[in-house]
């Protein structure tokens, strides 16, 4: 497989669209899968912010349907969750006469024809099946890799969780005399920033070289797992927030889903990072805060000992000045 040889429609081909590679060939080496994820496209997903303003988001539908215009997509897109070692199909259907998209399973490392990178293979025009078999448990996410700078910012992503063979409830299988790392409650902290000025752009904005401002991301909204996190909207809202009893274990799956760097603080809780980017750390790392850059993931286990409310805060920092651009909040309630 490998590099495509078409000309990318440079300078023409699709009107105002350049450097896209529409195709939907048969999947090499296709076999009967263990799990199938059907995904379609929805380019009109309203997201209402705390100030009452509604921002248009893009995303993937769950089930493969959707005419693209108000087709049942959500922000973020529906999670994918599978056990390690299972053969997966992601079946993506795109209305190629209207726009092009791909799915890249970020951190999953399949063959190039299953990697979803337009310029190396193709932007899906019709229906294409990505075949992959995740081998490393942990937290990942999937996102569109067509005009990625715009499409991922527009919300075309969802969580991708690879569980060990034991399934949900276990983060790390027992090995080498070490017991399994387990959890009782799970929280999802997917922190992202939104520049509303980008959210009226067409799917192919800038591809022919127009200056549409994609070099500067000036966010005016800050979200956690699809909810405006600047106020109280993400408080007491599982599975963003979590309630755990003393003696229970909480797993927080933190994804830096924006482009600017982030600084997350655990509000006085002490956590242990066992996995980052889908790979076990050689030595688990105790942390009360983390700094992360775009697309990093951290799987953090908390074993709180003192009842109370703990406020989780994540700052989004400017990638040049490091000034705080905004902050999202959620909470962890610890009961006796």
């Amino acid at each position: 497989m490998g590099r495509n040889n078409n000309d990318g429609g440079g300078g023409g081909g699709m009107g105002s669209t350049c450097y896209v590679y529409p195709a939907a060939p048969a999947t090499p080496g296709i076999v009967t899968p263990d799990v199938v994820f059907n995904r379609g496209i929805d380019m009109q997903i309203p997201l209402t912010m705390d100030d009452g303003r509604t921002i248009n988001m893009w995303g993937f539908t769950d089930g493969g349907g959707g005419g693209g215009m108000g087709g049942g997509g959500t922000f973020p897109s529906a999670p994918m969750r599978i056990n390690a070692g299972t053969i997966c199909h992601t079946v993506l259907t795109v209305q190629g006469n209207m726009w092009l998209h791909t799915i890249h399973h970020h951190g999953i490392e399949p063959a190039d024809h299953a990697d979803g990178v337009g310029h190396i293979t193709w932007d899906v025009d019709g229906t294409y099946t990505y075949q992959w078999r995740p081998m490393h448990p942990g937290t990942y996410f999937y996102h569109c890799h067509t005009n990625t700078v715009l499409h991922a910012e527009m919300g075309m992503y969802g969580a991708l969780i690879v569980d060990p063979p034991e399934g949900p409830g276990t983060l790390v299988s027992p090995s080498g005399g070490n017991p399994a790392v387990t959890y009782d409650v799970e929280a999802f902290w997917v922190v992202d920033e939104i520049d509303s000025a980008w959210h009226t752009l067409p799917w192919d904005a800038g591809t022919c070289g127009d200056d549409v401002g994609l070099n500067t991301l000036n966010p005016d909204y800050f979200v956690i797992t699809g909810v405006d996190g600047s106020g109280n909207s993400a408080m007491n809202l599982a599975p963003i927030s979590a309630t755990v009893q003393v003696g229970q274990k909480l797993l927080a799956r933190y994804i830096c889903a924006g482009y600017h760097p982030q600084h997350i603080r655990f509000g006085g809780l002490e956590g242990t990072v066992y996995i980052s980017d889908g790979r076990e750390l050689p030595t688990p790392m105790v942390a009360t805060e983390l700094k992360a850059v775009s697309a990093e993931r951290y799987d953090v286990i908390f074993e709180p000992t003192t009842p109370g409310e703990y406020i989780i805060e994540c700052d989004v920092l400017d990638w040049i000045t490091q000034e705080v651009l905004g902050t999202v909040r959620t909470n962890v309630i610890v009961t006796a």
Partner: protein, 333 residues
């Protein structure tokens, strides 16, 4: 002010000057320290971007008529005597600095200075112009240097994980307003708004774009940047950031083995698909292991995969042109 006659480079001409002879580097260790001599000519010129915009640059170049951005990366061995001669062809003062190794002090306009130092320790270093900071560095006066442990061909530091080949990835981000202010002898007064993003001085050109597949123009094909290997060809990449933006380095196909940050050996080697790269001289050392992509079914041993910065604004040029930014490809052969 006297009008200067700038060298004017099309991207192709500039890049040919830039590439020089260095590609993938395999270092042959020596039993004894040696004396390494290099000469850099500080030159300036205009490089026309994909948008048609002309941008001013300076470089540590291989001759008075070249413009190398970044300067040629080079590798020495611990204990070597390194003699660097810098010929300042410009009308402004400049310097040549490697933190912890050498500082030339001011090199006056039109003068030549030779500095000598003993390569100390091992690891990756950026050489750069410390004067008029950060503007001269941002305008192109930077490059990479490596010090290999004495007698070793396959370690970053004594006892490190090993590799079979090594490369440099030097990132930069460019605000033409700032560069052009420097050209006019002014100090930039506007906020830094990067419009171009480069890897080893070049940017991506996707298939079908002018210059695509040309290793002198397209960072996806630039042999200094693209990774080529067979299964097991573990590749050390010395990653440096001359720019102002904090970056997120992302490889497809394999996680990177993360050995150092900003010159500090990390206590554990984490395997990451994203690694933070600090701004303003930040650096990391990673090994791309060229292992079989672990999640392929059926298994594969060949293919083409991207390396790009996940700070996706850096994948653009002039506010659009996605895929004309800081990126290259990884070729499993």
């Amino acid at each position: 002010m006297e009008r200067r006659n700038f060298l004017k480079f099309s991207m192709a001409g500039f890049a040919r000057a830039a590439i020089g002879s260095s590609t993938v580097m395999v270092f042959a260790p020596r039993a004894h320290a040696a004396t390494i001599s290099k000469t850099f000519y500080i030159t300036e010129g205009i490089v026309t971007q994909i948008t048609g915009e002309d941008v001013y640059y300076m470089g540590y170049s291989s001759s008075t008529t070249a413009l190398n951005i970044p300067g040629e990366s080079f590798i020495v061995q611990e204990g070597d005597t390194v003699d660097i001669t810098i010929v300042n062809t410009l009308q402004t003062p400049h310097s040549f600095v490697i933190d912890g190794q050498v500082d030339s002090g001011v090199i006056d306009p039109g003068t030549t200075k030779t500095v000598s130092f003993t390569a100390t320790g091992s690891g990756s270093f950026m050489y750069y112009d410390k004067l008029n900071a950060p503007y001269n560095r941002l305008c192109g006066l930077h490059g990479g240097m490596a010090i290999m442990p004495s007698g070793s061909s396959n370690e970053l530091y004594p006892g490190s994980l090993t590799f079979v080949q090594q490369q440099f990835w030097i990132f930069n981000d460019i605000d033409p307003v700032w560069n052009n202010a420097v050209q006019n002898g002014q100090t930039p007064t506007t906020p830094f708004i990067p419009r171009y993003f480069t890897l080893n001085g070049l940017a991506g050109r996707p298939p079908g774009a002018p210059g695509s597949h040309d290793p002198n123009i397209d960072s996806i094909y630039d042999p200094r940047s693209a990774l080529h290997g067979h299964i097991g060809d573990r590749t050390l990449v010395r990653v440096m950031n001359a720019g102002m933006c904090q970056q997120a380095v992302h490889t497809h196909a394999n996680h990177m083995e993360w050995l150092t940050s900003n010159g500090e050996i990390r206590p554990d080697v984490w395997k990451k698909d994203i690694i933070p790269l600090d701004a303003n001289g930040g650096q990391i050392d990673v090994i791309f292991p060229f292992e079989t992509p672990p999640d392929a079914w059926p298994p594969v041993t060949t293919g083409v995969f991207p390396m790009h910065l996940h700070t996706e604004m850096s994948q653009t040029a002039g506010g659009g042109f996605y895929m004309f930014g800081s990126m290259t490809d990884i070729y499993y052969e």
